[in-house]
């Protein structure tokens, strides 16, 4: 008769767990841990290499016959092209400074989610083919050969990194693990492996403009619907200029804010602010997605999607581009855009605020200014009439979105704005904000619902810090400057700190903005009652 296992046995609470060495412990493709694969026809349309049908949970991933050669050649090509990659492969001394800095490691407690070991998955392959000692000593110094299980392992962990670069902040050598992840994703694409939630938006952004592939006329109608909502709240219907030539500014923001709650309220905030300023601007339906899903795919795809911004700036003849609240859009702009698609079209000039006359010299290269820089400058010059008491029902904190914080140093402008539009602002613990901010857990194309369980553990360090300020200071709101955050933080808050609402900064700006000729405000942009509205006076 078989004996029942003890709880300790079931729990695997023992010193030698796992039994196998880390290189031999393979990931389990359990539902909730991996994203759905891309569709074959999507990959064909985009001329991606080796499109094929496959299933991450299946034993056989239907890799092309010469998959090993493809991967070895592709890796070698990238080592030659990117000197940084070769450096990152060579210089890591495995000091472990990054080990416990990754939100995926902190949430999953899976050692291969330590940035050092995640990079080691690729570095072990590099050692065999490109390092003398690895060629001689092989496995003894952690070198290994390619096999199909290794491909699966690389795929699994490349999509358990949000490229947030928190680990890089602590690396004494400045190794950018996000770039290693980006290269692994590129390699996976060489053998036809990608995920639906990234490739479908890439296709839509390539062919139509926005990430859902909504046709231009419909996109415009949805924006007009939001302008109608603005009128319901304020009595003023803001203009919605689309594809108009000859304006000073082209405004580009993530299209998620046109389709998704609660991002739409941030978009309504932009409409109202621009109307109040009588800003000379236009939207574009072609460059209607500021976020760059290509940057989660390959450098070439990122370049291709990024090119739409300058193409539209040239076609529409604008002087500069104002960019909305987005995350990775700003990493691409600050770190890659000039190399990808510079120099800017001849019609573009160094951005100057038409309201305050401030010259944004830091944007001289890209000619793109972040909306919080623009608005903070307006407030600094006293150009906005603000009533922060309209946000008195809110005790807000601010989540530094990874890319604006770490890739462009946008730390103080959003806080400056928040402190002028809200009377109650509370910071989360200092080792979870600013440069050290914890990711929402679902950036870089991982904000898809099938991995909600994974997202709740990877976003836990952020959720945990939020829960702390909620319980200690009564925080009931978290502002952020990223459309992916606006999509991913509400579920994270619902799980870890239920009762906390999430919004963009410009939703709160528009709530506090006293507009010329507006009706009496009784509702906020969500059409919920404002505080401090006198009921009798109302009648």
């Amino acid at each position: 008769m078989a004996k029942l296992p003890t709880p300790q046995m079931l729990m695997a609470s023992r010193p030698d767990f796992p039994k196998a060495a880390w290189l031999d412990t393979k990931p389990l493709f359990a539902p909730g841990s991996y994203c759905y694969p891309e569709k074959k026809d999507t990959m064909e349309l985009l001329h991606m290499p080796n499109p094929h049908d496959w299933d991450p949970s299946a034993e056989d991933w239907n890799l092309p016959e010469n998959w090993e050669k493809i991967l070895c050649d592709a890796f070698e090509e990238r080592l030659e092209k990117h000197r940084s990659l070769k450096l990152f492969m060579d210089i890591c001394v495995r000091c472990g400074a990054c080990a416990d800095k990754c939100h995926f490691f902190l949430g999953t407690n899976d050692p291969k989610n330590m940035p050092v070991l995640r990079a080691e998955l690729l570095r072990s392959l590099y050692r065999r083919d490109h390092a003398m000692l690895g060629k001689i000593l092989g496995r003894k110094i952690g070198a290994r050969k390619w096999d199909k299980e290794v491909v699966k392992e690389l795929f699994y962990y490349a999509y358990q990194c949000t490229e947030c670069r928190r680990c890089s902040l602590f690396c004494p050598y400045g190794i950018d693990t996000a770039e290693i992840t980006a290269i692994v994703r590129e390699l996976m694409h060489e053998v036809g492996l990608g995920i639906h939630w990234i490739m479908d938006p890439v296709k839509n952004c390539s062919f139509t403009g926005n990430h859902l592939g909504i046709q231009p006329h419909s996109f415009k109608e949805i924006v007009e619907m939001l302008a109608d909502d603005c009128e319901t709240v304020t009595g003023i219907r803001p203009k919605t200029p689309f594809n108009e030539k000859g304006h000073e500014i082209l405004f580009i923001t993530p299209s998620g804010d046109v389709f998704a709650d609660p991002g739409i309220y941030t978009f309504m905030g932009y409409l109202l602010l621009f109307h109040e300023l009588d800003l000379d601007y236009t939207f574009s339906t072609y460059a209607s997605e500021g976020g760059n899903f290509g940057s989660f795919t390959s450098f070439n795809m990122a370049k291709k999607l990024n090119a739409k911004m300058y193409a539209e700036a040239k076609r529409l003849g604008v002087k500069w581009i104002l960019g909305g609240e987005c995350g990775h859009m700003w990493r691409v702009i600050n770190q890659y855009m000039e190399t990808y698609n510079g120099p800017t079209p001849d019609n573009m000039v160094v951005p100057t605020s038409p309201i305050t006359g401030t010259v944004f010299k830091h944007a001289a290269a890209t000619k793109m200014v972040h909306i919080t820089e623009f608005t903070a400058d307006l407030i600094r010059h006293g150009k906005l009439n603000l009533d922060p008491s309209r946000n008195d029902h809110i005790i807000t904190t601010f989540h530094d979105s990874c890319n604006p914080a770490r890739a462009m140093g946008l730390l103080d402008e959003p806080r400056y704005i928040l402190k002028h539009v809200c009377n109650h602002f509370v910071e989360m613990p200092e080792n979870t904000i600013r440069e050290q901010t914890f990711c929402c857990g679902a950036g870089s194309g991982l904000n898809t619902e099938e991995i909600m369980e994974l997202r709740m553990r990877s976003g836990m360090p952020r959720g945990n810090a939020l829960r702390y300020v909620q319980q200690k200071f009564g925080v009931n709101h978290m502002a952020c400057v990223c459309a992916i955050d606006r999509a991913t933080l509400p579920p994270l808050a619902d799980y870890w700190a239920p009762g906390v609402n999430v919004s963009g900064v410009h939703e709160l700006v528009a709530n506090a903005l006293v507009m010329k000729g507006e009706g009496k405000r009784t509702m906020d942009l969500r059409q919920e009652d404002l505080p401090n509205v006198d009921a009798e006076e109302d009648q």
């Binding site: 949430g107 319901t232 945990n464």
Partner: protein
């Protein structure tokens, strides 16, 4: 010596042993990070385990403690274990890791006719705590399912509203409540 007095001397050791036992459920390479850093924000799971240990030992000892207080102490740990790709048994089984510790540390002092029934009460309290943990676990899994549905709705909320307006010829901007 009654139960409370025995626990008073042993609490720190029981807490330490249980924290170790829970950390031993995680892969060996992950354990140093869980046990060495005492900051609750940069080592959240370690912090959750320690917080739960304190609350649970207090409850097991039979001290006067509110149920809400116990729940609060284990809530975060159950939340993270509910989404760490563990089976339900693995997720809440950590409560039962107390049993061998109690039998080693507490039972020898109570293994006599006058106090054995009190020891059985201690283990019964452990059963109650496991049931509480299971309730929390199920609640968390239900929240997880709900937020998944809510996110699917929210992603396309405006698109749906726009499409519904097309069908009904209602004036644009009529709030239909979808996505909420």
């Amino acid at each position: 010596m009654n139960t409370q007095q025995i626990f008073r001397d042993k609490t720190d050791k029981i807490v330490k042993l249980w924290v170790e036992a829970v950390i031993n459920c995680y892969p060996d390479r992950s354990r140093p990070a869980l046990s060495s850093n005492m900051d609750p924000f940069t080592n959240p799971v370690g912090g959750m385990i320690r917080e739960a240990a304190q609350g649970l030992v207090l409850a097991i000892s039979g001290a006067d403690i509110q149920i809400e207080q116990i729940k609060k102490s284990i809530e975060r740990l159950i939340k993270i274990r509910a989404v760490q790709a563990l089976s339900p048994g693995e997720a809440i089984g950590i409560i039962y890791l107390f049993k061998p510790i109690l039998r080693a540390e507490i039972l020898p002092q109570m293994n006599k006719p006058s106090s054995f029934s009190e020891y059985l009460d201690i283990e019964s309290r452990l059963d109650t705590l496991a049931m509480m943990a299971f309730d929390l676990y199920v609640r968390d899994r239900e929240v997880l399912a709900d937020i998944r549905i809510k996110e699917i709705r929210n992603q396309y909320a405006e698109l749906k509203r726009w499409a519904q307006n097309l069908n009904s010829n209602a004036p644009l901007g009529t709030f239909t409540g979808c996505g909420n």
